[in-house]
Amino acid sequence: MKTQDMMIFGYLMATGLTTGALYALVAIGVVVVFRATGVVNFAHGEMFMIGGFLAWTAHVMFGLPFLVAFAAAVAGTFVLGIITYQTTFRPLASTGNQNAILLAMVGLSFVLKGIARDLWGGRGDYLSFPPLVSPTPVDIFGFMIMSQQLIVLGAAIAVMIGFWLFFRFTRAGKFMQATADNTKAARLVGLRVDRVFMLTFAVGAAIAGAAATLMAPLTLLYPDVGFSLFVKGFAAAALGGLGSIPGAIVGGFLLGVTEQLSANYIATGLQEVAAFILIFLVMIFIPNGLFGTAARRRV
């Protein structure tokens, strides 16, 4: 019995980490935008959702190779990120009215959901996306794990390393980093801050597009998938302090594990609400998250 308990616990941890990687990938996109602009892209989940549908259209409907579909999803969401920037952040940023920006994003997220429903929703409840690899689970230390989940885990790590390299070694990345650190100074030294913001939104959305393509076989695709994943991604990001990419990754893993453990040891009904409780608690008790910088309140 003891070994069986250990076995179950091991499974929960393993699944928590693999679903956590999924949440971390969503959270990274939220964090990239927040770091630079100080706003949370409420439509981030819809970037994810449309990215997934674009990949489905290319791969399943038109039968194009997976890599082409991946590129299409990344490119499509990159453009969508620019659209988000142009329709919400840019026109309202100068007013300094964060509430207005958030309301505009809420509006945009509903519009995108409605459009997706018109375009893809009429083809059955949920679209399935064929897995990239053999659906047979692989045996790791006695645990059966879906190969697709390992791919997501690997991809999360790859994206994390990719971003670290991007911020560290590319001009665009350094500009984004500089702008995120100190917008005023960046402006003073002649950086075209608005360009950098636009790029940030585009890159944040593109991460969602990439994540969606990798995860579609696991989550399946439907127009409402965006909101629930946004909430989980946001919970992960908030737990990590909203401004920290490593924080988002740790937050994602923590959320994934929390969901699994609470579902198994308390009640299976808690799985869906764990993220909301976490957001609420983090916001009230540790608003700076586990990795956040000290609070700044400017007059």
Binding site: P91, A104, G107, K113, G114, F280, N288, R297, R298, V299
Partner: protein
């Protein structure tokens, strides 16, 4: 007192006179039901605008508070067999007490943080409505008997209609007096800048509590009327769809404008029926309205009205909104 015909006051009186007369002038059951929903949404919108527009606090929990009012009222009727006229204020009190609890996060958070924390709270509230089955009857919802207005010679539907009419008129007048009072001015100072408001001697806790309490009172009463009108309560009436409906109502009429709240509450019901009748996507229409009004018509429809009717003399309290939002 001489009323100018195009002042908000005159327009309001005309609107309520029209709403009173509509069933008498032969509006069929469908139209009186729609008008009834309008009045309920006017109440919600006026309340939400107090906290969102005047006090500048972006709250996404209002749909859930509306639901708590509905659940509170209907559950008291269902479990204890109490009469509706008693359950309605009790349900509203429940909504207020839970709404007041949101002041504590609101003291520490603002802007996006507050919005998302309250959104999370709203989703938790929905989860409770779904999962606390012995009390809430779970996701399947429950029905309540028609509210009798005996001995008045009036049908339950018409009784609810005129009750909603009277409550709506009363609450709009109440809101007008609040906005013009010291509390209303304190709200605006609060939305401008919390720290400078504090330095002006405005007690943050007290006025945030007032803003949240008032909006919850309005939402709670509206929820009770909603339950009495539908005679059915289920969790999905208070979800994200309800949230965007309420946000659109505030933004469409005009953030920080009482007249705008009335216009917004009336219009969203019209727009919703129109959208369904023309088979358009509700999500695209309402999301689009929110986006377009925030971007291009920040003051809402009242701004247009003011432009064309110089005698429209409402003082607007549209907040310039908080600038810095680190928690």
């Amino acid at each position: 007192m001489l009323l100018r015909l195009t002042s908000p006051m005159a327009a309001g009186i005309a609107l309520f006179a029209l709403l009173f007369a509509a069933p008498l002038l032969g509006a069929n059951e469908y139209y009186s039901y729609i008008l009834n929903l309008m009045m309920i949404h006017v109440i919600v919108t006026v309340g939400l605008n107090l906290v969102m527009g005047h006090a500048g606090q972006l709250v996404f929990a209002n749909a859930a508070i509306f639901g708590i009012g509905a659940y509170g009222t209907a559950l008291l009727m269902k479990h204890f067999g109490l009469p509706f006229w008693l359950c309605l204020p009790l349900g509203a009190m429940l909504a207020v007490s839970i709404g007041l609890a949101l002041v504590f996060p609101a003291l520490r958070l603002s802007g996006i943080y507050l919005a998302l924390a309250t959104l999370a709270f709203a989703q938790c509230a929905l989860w409770v409505m779904v999962h606390w089955t012995p009390v809430t009857f779970g996701a399947g919802g429950f029905t309540i008997p028609a509210v009798s207005f005996a001995p008045l010679p009036i049908s339950p539907d018409m009784g609810m209609y005129y009750l909603a009419w009277a409550v709506c008129a009363l609450l709009v007048v109440l809101a007008r007096n609040i906005v013009r009072s010291r509390i209303g001015r304190a709200f605006v100072a609060l939305s401008d800048n919390e720290i400078s408001a504090q330095s002006l001697g405005i007690d943050l806790l007290r006025y945030k509590a007032a803003a949240f309490g008032l909006s919850s009172l309005f939402a709670g009463i509206a929820g009770g009327l909603f339950a009495g009108t539908l005679r059915f309560v289920g969790p999905e009436s208070f979800d994200l769809h309800q949230m965007i409906l309420q946000l659109v109502a505030v933004v469409l009429g005009g953030i920080g404008s009482l007249a705008g709240s009335v216009i917004g509450g009336v219009l969203i019901v019209v727009v919703l029926e129109f959208t369904k009748a023309t088979k358009m996507s509700v999500e695209i229409v309402f999301g689009g309205l929110l986006l377009v009004f925030v971007l291009f018509a920040k003051g809402g429809l009242v701004v247009f009205i003011r432009r064309f009717l110089p005698s429209w003399n409402e003082t607007l309290h549209a907040s310039p909104a908080p600038r810095s939002k680190a928690p």
